[in-house]
């Protein structure tokens, strides 16, 4: 019980830290926010239920007014901004990623990659695009165009999420709770 709680809390903090540190080069020279990498890791490392709760905890604190989103944003305003759909997608992405890793009993790296692509790209952008189309008054294909520039970076993040999950499974097998 205590262990579940602290894992959920510490991974919520990890999402925040990955959004606040701008200095990691994902592709050399192009600083991209690693926040969605944190979301994917919540799912692939903590599993369906704990991953979902960690992301919900993170979003609750954002709503309460802590500047934890990438670029130091936060507060209630972000939940009605054009990117609000992505915030809805955050917990669903972690849930889907965790579900895939828990249920698909192949090598943990392969399952984590599949989960991260399905949740972190598929579900996340689906929610994000719907959100942008509502707030910006565009059709879904028009809103989808706005998401295209981010796909390359997101694909890279899914590869990283898979590599990190497999690395954790190797050095600390008990810590990958989605497979424990």
């Amino acid at each position: 019980m205590e262990r579940n709680l602290t894992h959920i809390a510490l991974f919520a903090a990890l999402i925040a830290v990955l959004g606040l540190v701008p200095k990691i080069d994902l592709i050399s020279g192009v600083p991209i926010t690693a926040q969605s990498l944190g979301i994917m890791l919540c799912g692939t490392v903590l599993g369906t239920r704990r991953g979902l709760l960690a992301v919900l905890l993170f979003l609750t604190l954002v709503a309460l007014g802590l500047p934890l989103l990438a670029g130091g944003r936060g507060g209630l305003g972000v939940f009605v901004s054009p990117t609000a759909g992505y915030l809805v997608g955050f917990p669903l992405a972690a849930l889907v990623a965790g579900f895939v890793v828990e249920r698909w009993r192949v090598d943990v790296g392969v399952a984590a990659f599949a989960g991260a692509v399905l949740g972190g790209i598929g579900v996340m952008h689906l929610c994000g695009i719907i959100g942008m189309s509502v707030v910006l008054g565009k059709t879904l294909p028009e809103a989808a165009l706005l998401a295209v520039p981010f796909l390359a970076g997101d694909l890279l993040k899914t590869v990283l999420a898979a590599g990190i999950t497999r690395g954790l499974a190797r050095v600390r097998p008990a810590s990958v709770l989605s497979r424990a």
Binding site: M1, E2, R3, L5, T6, H7, I8, A9, L10, F11, A12, A13, L14, A16, V17, L18, L20, V21, K23, I24, D25, L26, S28, A34, L37, L41, V45, L57, F58, T60, L61, L64, G65, L66, P67, L68, G71, R73, G74, G75, L76, G77, V78, F79, V80, S81, P82, V135, L136, G137, K138, L146, L160, G163, I164, G167, L168, V171, R172, S175
Partner: protein, 198 residues
């Protein structure tokens, strides 16, 4: 940790949180169906007046909080100039600014303590379905405490990287960071259990 609450003390800081949240929900629900750009711009101007009435410095801070919307204003401007539907662009941009500005107003005038108290009250009924509302409050406190701790450890990891590698800090650093988070979680869990648990 810094919050987004405005340090400039205004009268709105003393209004009850529940009433402010209800006003935001109502305002947002009313603005979305409006199809006449003049009404939406009018609402936006009224909101700007509320900000100004709460003080000039407060209003300037509020305007800065909207800076994240500029890319979307630019997209709307370009799109609708090309489509020659300026009225629609004004409607969408004003609606966006109004909704975000109204919600920010609550965030800027409500202290974190008051928000946390509200959440705890809201979670109290969880007792009846077998969940522990205190556990949720503890989890929130842990995140607030551990975000700066993890940031600190992250910067130590980055310094260690720079001291050893000629290359810039890369994404590989997330693995040791995740390990730090997992180990800290285990330590805190043991400490909690040693003090009597949840």
């Amino acid at each position: 940790m810094l919050t987004l609450t405005s340090p400039v003390e205004t009268a709105a800081h003393r209004w009850p949180v529940g009433a402010k949240l209800a006003a935001v929900a109502l305002g947002t629900a009313l603005i979305f169906p409006l199809q006449d750009w003049r009404l939406v711009v009018g609402a936006l101007l009224a909101l700007a007046l509320v900000y100004l009435a709460l003080g000039l410095r407060f209003a300037a801070h509020g305007a800065r909080m909207l800076s994240g919307l500029w890319p979307f204003f630019a997209i709307l401007a370009l799109w609708h100039l090309w489509q020659a539907e300026l009225a629609r662009a004004v409607l969408l941009a004003a609606r966006m600014a109004f909704a975000v500005g109204l919600a920010n107003l609550v965030t800027m005038t409500t202290r974190l303590d008051d928000m946390l108290a509200l959440v705890e009250r809201g979670l109290a009924p969880l007792r009846f379905v077998g969940a522990n509302p205190r556990a949720v409050a503890l989890a929130m406190a842990l995140v607030i405490r551990f975000t700066p701790v993890l940031l600190d450890k992250m910067s130590q990891l980055m310094q260690a990287w720079r001291a050893r590698s000629p290359r810039r800090v890369g994404a590989k650093i997330v693995l040791p960071l995740a390990l730090v988070a997992l180990d800290d979680a285990d330590h805190v869990a043991e400490a909690l259990r040693a003090r009597g648990g949840l």
